[in-house]
């Protein structure tokens, strides 16, 4: 580790992995409720499990982004972090606020939680992904401000690299767009319109900057390719992300009461959104092929390449599949959407955080790379999680195609619940794939504790 303060990233990464496990457990609960409707009912209704699953996902990804920033920014800035103490304080605030919110979902009915937290004063709850009580949302904003201040001061007082500036822009955008979660008009069309400014402009906008910056950083470190080359790629990729992704928001404005010209704007621009993801894949493989050194951390390289490929498949290919208005007319809000959501979130954001953890964790533990046995186990977990996510996506796609046909397309459309019964087999298969996923995740955790000869790994690749 070049700077002592980089080690504040460690608790962030540990918390991220812990919450990741919780997310997947609740995913499995929901997967079972899909086929055994009364499972855990009425103790944990589906909507509660879903909130826990998706909110844990978002919170642990935020922990992952913050941890990545705390590790990356000092090294890029060539100075210590502005305030490691503030970083630790914010860590605990965020963890406790997050845990209390999740407990709130699980322990009291949602309406009671809304009551207890004074939702009627500033109603923001009860919208998908933004279910957090308003005070939690305010807490998130405070943590984000403190975090941005800390990172911003570090960057201002140090070397300003492209990676640093792009990361900072992405994180700033993340905080700014989150502010739209406080805008909740009664008019459903307006509500939905601005809801997407949080959700879409996050994952298909500013988060892509964060993704690009972290990927660029890890590639600089593990390949030793000239920074100039990598930074040029980074600029082009994020340029394409924003050029296509901002107007691409229109692919959510087809059927919610907004003017119909969005069918053109949305289709044309979002059809180009796969371009930056495709470039990211080319970029990652190119840099690894042109590497100037063989880094002993093989697992981190695997994660980096995996991110590029899976983000392209999940966001690019599965996104394109349902993004044109005439297709989306039939697939909107079906299992096709769930299939895409899973692979895109996993491929882009889960995997980039795991890439960074894979690269940084050994360094924070005083090694250049983990020992070979640990790395082999980590690579097994990579394949188990990634392949099972591919299968989850394929099964949901199968379910979605049939659902779309039976409920939306045939001459004699069937009711929702009847269709769900008919496609049950795909949900069973999805659940089995989910079990494989969690086995992969358990192996991932174990890999941190596998003992071996670290020095040998470094010597072998030197």
């Amino acid at each position: 580790m070049q700077y002592q303060s980089q080690s504040v990233a460690k608790p962030y990464f540990i918390a991220a992995i812990g919450l990741f496990i919780g997310q997947i457990l609740f995913g499995l609960v929901m997967g079972l409720q899909y086929v055994m409707g009364d499972f855990l009912f009425p103790e944990i209704p589906f909507n509660v499990a879903r909130m826990v699953h998706t909110n844990l996902l978002i919170v642990w990804l935020l922990f992952g982004f913050m941890g990545s920033a705390y590790f990356l920014v000092p090294e890029e800035s060539e100075r210590e972090l502005f305030s490691p103490k503030l970083a630790l304080l914010l860590f605990w605030i965020f963890l406790i606020a997050g845990a209390l919110t999740i407990l709130g979902y699980l322990l009291v009915p949602y309406a009671t939680l809304a009551d207890l937290t004074g939702n009627e004063l500033l109603p923001t709850m009860g919208r998908e992904f933004l279910e957090q009580p308003t005070i939690t949302k305010i807490g998130i904003v405070i943590v984000a401000l403190g975090f941005l201040f800390n990172i911003g001061m570090t960057i201002l007082g140090g070397r300003k690299t492209v990676v640093n500036l792009v990361l900072l822009t992405g994180l700033l955008g993340l905080a700014v767009f989150f502010l739209f979660s406080f805008y909740n008009p009664v008019n459903v069309v307006d509500d939905k319109f601005y809801w997407w400014w949080v959700v879409h402009l996050w994952v298909e906008g500013v988060w892509e900057l964060i993704l690009g910056a972290i990927l660029a950083f890890v590639l600089i470190k593990v390949t030793g390719v000239d920074r100039e080359v990598i930074e040029k790629w980074l600029y082009v990729i994020i340029a394409m992300s924003l050029i296509t992704g901002i107007i691409g928001t229109g692919h959510h404005y087809y059927w919610i009461g907004t003017p119909e010209y969005w069918q053109w704007w949305g289709s044309i621009f979002s059809a180009m959104e796969p371009i930056p993801f495709f470039m990211m894949t080319i970029f990652a493989f190119n840099m690894v092929n042109r590497r100037r050194r063989d880094h002993p951390n093989k697992a981190a390289v695997l994660w980096a390449l995996g991110t590029a490929v899976m983000a392209f498949l999940g966001a690019g290919v599965w996104g394109f599949m349902h993004t044109l208005a005439p297709v989306n007319y039939y697939t909107h809000g079906t299992q096709i959407t769930a299939a895409h959501g899973h692979m895109a979130f996993y491929g882009a954001y889960v995997m980039i955080v795991l890439t960074m953890i894979s690269y940084a964790m050994p360094i924070m533990r005083g090694q250049k790379a983990a020992n070979m046995r640990a790395q082999v186990m980590e690579m097994w977990s990579f394949w188990l999680m990634t392949v099972s996510m591919v299968f989850i996506t394929l099964f949901l796609t199968g379910a979605g195609v049939l659902q779309t046909y039976l409920q939306r397309y045939t001459d004699d459309p069937l009711p929702f619940m009847v269709v769900q019964d008919k496609i049950e087999i795909f949900y069973w298969l999805r659940e089995i794939a989910g079990v494989v996923f969690i086995i992969g995740l358990v192996l991932y955790v174990i890999s941190f504790f596998v003992k071996g000869n670290e020095a040998k790994v470094v010597a072998d690749t030197a």
Partner: protein, 144 residues
Amino acid sequence: MSEVFTKSMARNIYYGGSVFFIFLFLALTFDTSGKTPERDNHEAITAQVALGKQVWEENNCIGCHTLLGEGAYFAPELGNVYKRFGNSTDAIVGFIKSRPVEGVAGRRSMPQFHLSDEQLEAVAAFLKYVSEIDTAGWPPNIQG
């Protein structure tokens, strides 16, 4: 990428492109906000509908259902349920009211929310309001 295409060119595309498309997006947003009132059925928004939206949100209906195709995919689309139930708010009220506390054995179940009559009427009015938004012909048929 070759030397003809330099890093500063890439940077300029990034800055120029983003700024241009942010402004284009803002312009489209401005235009949209002028045009949605023709389609968004805002005339139907009453105090009761507003209460209905609050009931909708504070019971997290979106955690199982979609509304105009957005939300969760576990239970039926509700953007057009008013029409599916024969243009009847009473049918909606009756359905929500009659959910068994312990659920339906072996079937995906909807919780019993113990809503007051006022809340029930309000959430049904809210769903009626949503069903009359002009959604460009979506969903393709009454099944949602």
